[in-house]
Symmetry: none
Subunit: 426 residues, 2 copies
């Protein structure tokens, strides 16, 4: 017997991931890491993740083993319409019930299809997705055709979710998390994710450790999303007023110690944060991209409403387009090479003249895997910013593969702009 004053033991939670593609390394499972980083601060005890392929006996075995160990289990994958989607049938077999057709979902599938592909017949296979184990609670799926469902097997409540990240994330957030919060014995959860750029994970941990240790009423979680690092703060309490006050107090302390490492919170991207800051000043940005090949502009425009801060961009891979689109002299390119301070500056200045944007960002570098030399190895990148008060340039040396060098270059250019805006504001 536990003593009356002891808190109830934390519920045990496990993950099961199904799919030959994950098992074979064709795709990495990113859903569980994301979910774990959200659940950990709730005080749930994450004990095990099991990954199995698309084999009925392996899925059934994993479900039955977990059913006697865990209080909750999140299962992802294998709910689609094809013959290798076995999870729902395996769940029924593990529990010893038959599959039943959920009629409301049949109607929903027909409606959904008629909207997406009016006039086309619904493939018969799709209707399979309305079959769920008897006694399952159908949870639905706002973004897809396979419904999530909950099913109790032995001592464990299983949540079966589609593995497609977009569908999975929405279901975790809206349907699963609220139930797990309730299971912790607390009524209310308030959370804040602080997005940081320019600080390593270990330094971040060092900086906030004194706050974390002094304030057990707020739980801390850390997550890397290259090249950013995120700190999650979670306040659980019996009522909303307490949870909000606790969170606000600890958040303020963290923001003070982290200073300008924090660029935003709760899902805002770095490019979006910069864009919104410019829009608030009535200003715009235009990019002149070489080695990033449109990546920075794509980051600036993937957000709705981005026409407020970006009117367009120049992607100039070749010498010829650097000359014709941006006015960089051919002789300079031939003499200094495209990856040089003067070319970066002229790209930014040329873009500003031609776009009318308040600020222009130029990126020219060697993303790899080819193209590096002893003088200018892969990862050598010149960044330049041109604005109302002139042009600044910076040499960066990034490490990593082509994708990482390109991503760091895009962030580095935005950081150049950010420092300029900070400088003007101070």
């Amino acid at each position: 017997m536990t003593s009356p004053s002891a808190p109830p033991p934390a519920p045990i939670i496990e993950f099961i991931v199904t799919g030959d593609e994950v098992m074979r390394g064709l795709i990495a499972d990113t859903n569980t890491a994301m979910t774990a980083s959200r659940l950990y601060p709730l005080g749930l005890s994450l004990r095990r993740t099991t990954v199995v392929g698309d084999r009925g006996e392996d899925i059934r075995r994993a479900l039955l083993e977990t059913s006697v160990r865990a209080d909750f289990c999140i299962v992802s994958g294998g709910l689609g319409p094809t013959s290798d989607d076995l999870t729902a049938a395996c769940a029924a077999e593990a529990k010893g019930v038959r599959m039943v057709t959920h009629q409301p979902w049949i109607a929903h599938l027909h409606e959904r299809w008629a909207k997406i592909r009016p006039g086309e017949p619904l493939p018969k296979n799709n209707l399979r997705q309305a079959d769920v184990p008897d006694t399952a609670e159908v949870l639905g799926n706002p973004n897809g055709s396979a419904p999530a469902f909950a099913l109790q097997i032995d001592r464990c409540l299983f949540f079966f979710l589609p593995g497609v990240p977009r569908e999975y994330h929405a279901l975790i957030q809206d349907l699963v998390m609220p139930r797990l919060v309730a299971a912790t014995g607390n009524a209310v959860l308030r959370s804040r994710i602080l997005h940081c750029y320019g600080v390593t994970e270990s330094r971040l941990d060092e900086l906030v450790t004194p706050i974390r240790e002094a304030h057990p009423e707020v739980r801390f979680g850390f997550r890397t999303r290259f090249p950013e690092n995120h700190v999650t703060l979670v306040a659980l309490a019996a009522d909303a007023v307490t949870a909000e006050a606790n969170l606000a107090r600890v958040e303020a302390m963290c923001r003070q110690i982290l200073g300008s490492f924090v660029y935003g919170h709760d899902g805002v991207t770095f490019a979006q944060a910069m864009g919104e800051r410019l829009a608030a000043r009535g200003e715009t940005v235009c990019c002149a991209e070489s080695c990033t090949g449109g990546l920075l502009t794509q980051l600036l425009t993937e957000v709705g409403g981005s026409s407020k801060w970006t009117a367009g961009a120049f992607v100039t891979y070749s010498y010829e387009l650097k000359t014709s689109m941006l006015g960089v002299p051919k002789e300079l390119l031939e003499k200094q090479g495209a990856v040089s301070e003067s070319v970066a500056r002229l790209m930014a200045e040329g873009a500003r003249e031609r776009s009318g944007a308040t600020w222009t960002l130029a990126i020219t570098g060697i993303a790899g895997p080819g193209g590096g030399t002893a003088d200018k190895p892969v990862g050598t990148v010149w960044l330049a910013l041109c604005g109302p008060r002139g042009t600044v340039a910076r040499l960066a040396k990034y490490r990593g593969d082509r994708g990482q060098v390109r991503m760091q270059s895009a962030f580095g250019a935005l950081q150049l702009l950010r420092e300029q805006l900070d400088h003007e504001a101070s």
Copy 2:
């Protein structure tokens, strides 16, 4: 009893990953996905990955469960010098042997330390890493201070490796793979992934089902990577000639029934496939992007070597840049709006004149979430292609969120080019 002609069953292999950081979502486990993608083609049957935190009972339980299920198990993590590195001790406990100090490794640790930090004393904790379970075979570690070791527990041979990716990868490659290759006996595996665009996953399944049912010697898998769908074919046989012949026969049947839905195979992206096709013809492409804001160009340039098919791009979000960068008349924009056939055509034509590219692709549409009207709802996109023989345009109506509309628009533009090249080839 299996018949005498049946190949021996493929050895069963599992992974165990230990570490609170993985369990809490702080870091994603990338070692197993990498390893799985190398092992699968050997014909090893990858049956399960188990991830547990740094708790002794959870590690011991995972080892003992696996010891009766698998022939081989690769265990990563928990071999370091700190107090939360429990894996070696847990391995000894699971087998029921004591820990012994491997004297040659003690000598190696002293030598290694003297080289890295000459003059400094070796921290005592570090010597813990020379302790291994009795009867273990010490495999060493060229890049670190914790030695890998092999240990038989029940029917399973376990390979214990450090989790640090650089150390892990070298050990897998040099010490573990050769032993596993030897264990596969005669079984040979050949696989092919067909990448499809323009067909739903369920329709794909319907189309290939008759082939799949008639040819059990080849295993089928399906995977969605929006907006693509992939079908994986795997042939396992006693010898390479049989596996290759079986795979080739079934692949040819699939390609015939899927026709032009198949754009490439084995990991090539849609943009890359188009780019390489152009490069082979000595041609280039340049994009004029409005609503996709650089996404199509980013897809064309994320691949190494893309300067062979793309020299750059115009991103023209605003009316002003459509006019100044591409020469679209201001009056036309005001009269017809940016999302119109004539603007799409003029964008493509203006880009071709100014870039010198063989082909230009223009995209102008409403990606959402705002900006839609009754006439032109969100998802309305005009695509245009300009090439040596003139300009073609197409109206597309896409569904989904901003990201999905943008991605479908980028693919739709590439598809326009693809159809043109197919037409010329036919």
